[in-house]
Amino acid sequence: MATETTAQDVAQGAHEVAKAGMPQLDFSTFPNQIFWLLVTLVLIYLVLSRIALPRIGATLAERKGTITNDLAAAEELKQKAVSAEKAYNDALVRARAEAAKIVAEAKAEIQKDVAAATAKAEVEIAAKTAESEKHIAEIRAGAMDAVTEVARDTAKELVAALGGKADAKSVTEAVTAALKG
C-alpha cells in the first residue's frame, strides 16, 4: 500500500506524509489542543467553583433545611391533631354523659307527672263511680215504689172487676207479699 502510494501520488507526497498517521499523533496540532484545553478547563473550573457549585450546594442545603423544618412542623401538627382528637373524644364522652343525665331527669319528671295525673284521674273516676252508683240506687228505689203503686192499683182494680170488695189494707199486704216472693 505504502509503496503504491508513494509511486502513484508523487505530487501529493508531502500531503500523504502529513496525513499518513493517526491525527492523534500529528504533533503539529498539539500546542493548539493543549492551549485550548487549558483555557476551557480554567473557565470550567472558575464557573463551577465560583458560581455553580456554591449555588447548587446552597440550594441543596436549603432544601434539606426546609425539608427538616417541614417535617418538624408536620410532626407538630400531627401532635396537635392527636390532642385535638383526644379533646373531641373527651367532649363527646362528657356530652353523652350529660345527655344521659338529662334524659334520666326528664324521664323521672314525666314519670312523676304521669303518676300524679293518674292518681288524680283515679280519684275523679272513683267519685264519679260512687255518684253514679248512688244515682242508680235512687232510680232503682224510685222504680220499686212505682212498681208497688202500679201493682196495688192494678190488684184493687182487678179485685173490684171480679166483683169483690177490695180492702185497701189486705191488697197492699198481698201485693207486698207477691213482690217479695
Binding site: 508531502a14 492523534q24 496540532t29 489542543q33 485550548w36 473550573y45 464557573v47 457549585l53
Partner: protein
C-alpha cells in the same frame, strides 16, 4: 500506509478522518505543514481557532447552561435542568467523599470540573459529524499527567518525605519490601499513562469502529451482497452507538473515580 485513503470497490474508508484537527476560518493544506521536512508555515498555530476550540467551547457552554444558568432559580422544588445539575453534584460529591475521604471534599470542584468536561466532551462527540476532544491523546495526556503532577506535589506538600511511605509496604516481609517498592514506583508512574490512554483509546476505538461499520452501510448501492451487509451494518452502528453512549459515561466515571483514588493516595499515603 495511506491505505484507508483508497476506496475498495467504491466504499470509502476514513475511520480516522473524524479525528483530524483543522482550523475553522482558513483553508488548511497539510502539504504546508510537514515539520519532519522543515515545512511549518502552514501549521496550526497554538492560538488558532480550530474545531478543537469549537467543541471544547460547546462543552463549556453545556456546562454553563446546565450548572450555572440552570441552577439560577435556586428553587426548593427544582426544575428539570436544575435537578440534572443537583444529581450530578450529589453523584460526584458522594464519589469524592467515599473514595478520597472527608478532607478530599476540598478538591471537589477540581474533580467535578474534570468529570463534567470529559462527560460533556464525550457526549457531544457522539453527535454525528462532531469532533471529540477526548479522543486525542494530547488532551487526555494533559488531563492525566496534569492531575498526576498535581497529586504528587500535593502528597509531598502535605506529608513531605512520608509520602514515600506509599511505596514502602510495612506489612510485607522485609526481604520483599525493596522489590515491592520498585514495582510500586513503576506502577505509580504508569498511572498517568494508563489514566490518559484509557480515555482516549476507548473513545477513539469506539468512534473508529462506528465509522468502519458506516463505511459498509452504502454497499447496497454498489453490489447485490449489500442486501445483507447494509441492514447488518446499520444494526451494528445502532448497537455500537448505544454502547458508545454507555462508554462515554463510564469512561468519564472511571477517569473521575481513578482521580479520586490517586487523590486519596496523596492525602492518606499510609494505606
Amino acid at each position: 500506509m495511506a491505505g484507508e485513503e483508497h476506496s475498495e470497490g467504491g466504499l470509502a474508508f476514513h475511520p480516522l478522518q473524524q479525528f483530524e484537527v483543522h482550523p475553522l476560518f482558513r483553508h488548511y493544506d497539510p502539504a504546508t505543514c510537514v515539520p519532519a521536512n522543515g515545512i511549518t508555515e502552514g501549521c496550526i498555530k497554538w492560538y488558532e481557532i480550530t474545531n478543537v476550540t469549537l467543541w471544547m467551547a460547546l462543552a463549556l457552554l453545556v456546562i454553563v447552561a446546565v450548572f450555572a444558568i440552570g441552577s439560577r432559580g435556586r428553587a426548593i422544588i427544582p426544575t428539570r435542568i436544575q435537578s440534572i445539575g443537583e444529581m450530578a453534584y450529589g453523584f460526584v460529591y458522594k464519589m469524592v467523599e467515599d473514595v478520597a475521604g472527608h478532607d478530599g471534599a476540598k478538591y471537589f470542584p477540581l474533580i467535578m470540573s474534570l468529570f463534567l468536561f470529559i462527560l460533556s466532551a464525550n457526549m457531544l462527540g457522539l453527535l454525528p459529524g462532531s469532533f471529540t476532544p477526548t479522543s486525542h491523546i494530547a488532551v487526555t495526556a494533559v488531563l492525566g499527567f496534569g492531575f498526576f503532577i498535581f497529586v504528587t506535589l500535593l502528597g509531598f506538600f502535605k506529608h513531605g518525605v512520608h509520602f514515600l511511605g506509599l511505596f514502602w509496604m510495612k506489612d510485607a516481609p522485609l526481604i520483599l519490601r525493596p522489590i515491592i517498592a520498585v514495582i510500586e514506583v513503576i506502577s505509580y508512574f504508569v498511572r498517568p499513562v494508563s489514566h490518559s490512554i484509557r480515555l482516549a483509546g476507548n473513545v477513539m476505538a469506539g468512534h473508529a469502529v462506528m465509522k468502519v461499520f458506516a463505511a459498509f452501510a452504502p454497499l447496497i448501492l454498489i453490489s447485490t451482497i449489500g442486501v445483507v451487509v447494509t441492514p447488518v451494518s446499520i444494526l451494528a452502528i445502532t448497537a455500537i452507538y448505544a454502547l458508545e453512549v454507555l462508554v462515554a459515561f463510564i469512561q468519564a466515571y472511571v477517569f473521575t473515580i481513578l482521580a479520586c483514588v490517586y487523590l486519596k493516595d496523596a492525602l492518606h499515603p499510609g494505606h
